[in-house]
């Protein structure tokens, strides 16, 4: 142990002889290690972000949505009935997909959504009018800023009341308290009973679910919506006309018992039952789709694994390049110090001693580089937020970028996993050994006589 310390000490002495050269050589490893850690951290951060988005849907939920069937298939059914296109989830589905029919379901939360102009006095705003039940607020992590949510009692009374999102309140009631005032939707008046807090939009997840902006919502009791607005949604625009009849847009099923059992063991089988029930009830008509966040989560994790692997490999290449730099310098050093090698051999050093000496030098070089890289890697979140700051400064002035990308970039927080620090350091030392062996061997194999004569 003492011997090793001394060898390291001697190695440091030799390296300090050429400070600039040693530090430049080290730089290759510093950046290599740093990029491995940073890449893995960013990958991990992106993975967390993606998983969080899925989790926002509720990891243990199952979401059944209405889907507009393809035109050809729909034209026959549509023509047989009327020009109104009927599709989507039915209230009957809600009854089937309930805790009475399928065990494991704790709650079924239906919604119906329509895009409609909402008026208050002379002000008007296009909102997403959501007919929902009391469970909706909880499943979507909506919090109240003021007033109250829609309750079961409102459903029974078929009350014309509404809860508005923060942005709607600000647009329609600037400088006024909306509570108790009435807004007009489709000619009916709804009294505002509550205001929700601002909630960040959810990003789109793959192709299965589009992003959701909760800030232009207005919530009314589902029953009220059914009674006051009916199921038909007719939109007239210049020269075009579309009419469709949808009973429900989405049913979110909450699964119970996930605390004591492994969630995926519970959710996946229930999702199969839901799928079968829906298929039977809709007689094979594909006007619905099922989203299982748990499955998406698994997919996201798998994709992330590949993503991390690719990022890590790219970074690892830079580490290898750093290693080649070290080898190059060590080979030059061996040539330069041929005489010293000859002297040491003459004074009794065995080949092994020479190998040890140069190998330790290389390992010290890569080890110190690795340690600095590790430190930088550990600071990845800080460095990354610096990058974000710079990006914001530049992008806000020059380029128009997709808002979704901006959001994603702004929300991304690199997550440095402690094991990546160890791994990257280990690899850097390993690279020191691998790329140090050849120069060390070539140093040891020198003929002492030749080496002594070397100028």
């Amino acid at each position: 142990m003492f011997r090793l310390l001394r060898t390291i000490n001697l190695a440091v002495k030799s390296l300090l002889l050429h400070k600039l050269r040693s530090s430049l050589t080290m730089l290759g490893i510093v950046f290599g290690v740093f990029s491995v850690i940073a890449m893995l951290a960013i990958g991990e951060g992106a993975s967390k972000q993606a998983q969080d988005q899925v989790l926002e849907l509720g990891a243990t939920n199952i979401i059944v949505r209405s889907v507009k069937p393809p035109e050809q298939a729909s034209s026959t059914t549509a023509s047989s009935n009327s020009f109104i296109l009927r599709y989507g989830l039915l209230r009957e589905d809600l009854k089937l997909l309930s805790k009475e029919n399928i065990s494991g379901i704790e709650r079924s939360i239906p919604i119906r959504e329509v895009s409609a102009p909402v008026r208050y006095r002379h002000r008007e705003m296009n909102c997403r009018v959501v007919g929902c039940t009391s469970g909706y607020f909880e499943t979507n992590n909506l919090n109240l800023r003021d007033g109250r949510f829609i309750t079961e009692h409102d459903q029974v009374k078929i009350d014309t009341i509404a809860v508005v999102a923060a942005q709607v309140a600000e647009t329609l009631f600037p400088g006024e308290d909306p509570i108790g005032k009435s807004v007009q939707i489709n000619g009916e008046y709804y009294e505002i009973r509550g205001i929700t807090r601002t909630r960040g939009a959810t990003a789109a997840i793959g192709g299965s679910l589009s992003g959701q902006d909760y800030n232009k919502d207005i919530y009314i009791p589902l029953k009220t919506m059914q009674v006051r607005m009916g199921d038909d949604n007719i939109q007239r625009k210049q020269g075009s006309f579309s009419a469709e009849s949808i009973q429900l847009h989405q049913i979110t099923l909450q699964i119970s018992g996930t605390e004591d059992k492994k969630a995926e063991d519970l959710v996946i089988p229930i999702s199969e039952v839901v799928r079968e029930t829906m298929e039977i009830n809709h007689k094979g008509k594909k006007d619905w789709s099922i989203i299982v966040p748990m499955e998406l989560l698994e997919q996201a994790k798998q994709i992330q694994l590949i993503f991390n692997l690719v990022l890590g490999s790219i970074a690892a290449i830079s580490l290898v390049v750093g290693g080649i730099g070290i080898m190059n310098i060590m080979l030059a050093t061996v040539t330069e110090r041929t005489r010293e090698i000859g002297v040491r051999r003459a004074l009794g050093a065995r080949q092994r001693d020479i190998i040890e000496q140069f190998l330790v030098e290389t390992i010290v070089l890569s080890g110190v580089g690795g340690a600095i890289g590790m430190l930088l890697g550990w600071l990845t979140p800080q460095i990354f937020s610096g990058t974000q700051w710079v990006y914001n400064k530049i992008s806000s002035k020059t380029v128009e970028v997709d808002a979704g990308f901006n959001n994603m970039f702004a929300d991304l927080t690199p997550d440095v996993q402690p094991w990546t620090l160890g791994l990257a350091f280990g690899i850097s030392v390993g690279i020191g050994i691998i790329f140090g062996v050849y120069p060390a061997m070539s140093a040891a194999r020198l003929d002492p006589i030749e080496a002594l004569r070397h100028e």
Binding site: G342, G348, R350, Q351
Partner: protein, 238 residues
Amino acid sequence: MTQAVETQFAARVIELHKHYYLGEIVVHALRGVNLDFPKGDFVAIMGSSGSGKSTLLNLLGALDRPTGGQYILGGFDVSKMTDNDLSDIRNRLIGFIFQSYNLIPQYTVLENIEVPLHYRDSRQPIDSEDRDRCEHLAKLVGLDGRFDHKPFQLSGGQQQRVAIARALVNNPEIILADEPTGNLDSKTEEEIMQILLDLNAEGRTIIMVTHEDNVAKLAKRQIHMKDGQVAGDGLFRG
């Protein structure tokens, strides 16, 4: 390594041959050299370039193996040893002094003197006793007060003194000096030769290669090499 046999000779060379193969051509660098070096001898090996004196020195220094013949050093037959054993022999029995000093540039005076101790058989770490010995040797060759200097801070003569101290640190059987004063001015040359003479007076065996007559005549014995053979061997003092 076989057990050493006690002899009155520090080193003996018996019918030593050395051939080099330069492609197709065989160079006979040594053609049967016989030499005895009694303990306490001070020998100057002389000869023009190509006479084989460098080859002889390499063999005496256990840096190379002879093609034929025997080399007995301190009772060991060195002629057929493995590379590792040769390393150990060099470390234990030979002290090298080179024309161009060959100090390790990044080490201080004391560290340079310590170098052979790193490679001793036991690979024992250097302790305070070793350090005392190094300091003692440094003082002996007149380097008092320069223990922490680096080679580039020293004059040629001082560097050669470091090299001499380094050659003595393992208490070797023979000291091999390859033109020890070749790079020095005449005054420094005298000082260095005086150190070697003092060491010889203490009973150390010194084998020195030189082509300067005034240096050679300080030795007890001069050996002239020619065409790979000993052309003359004798006492030419003064």
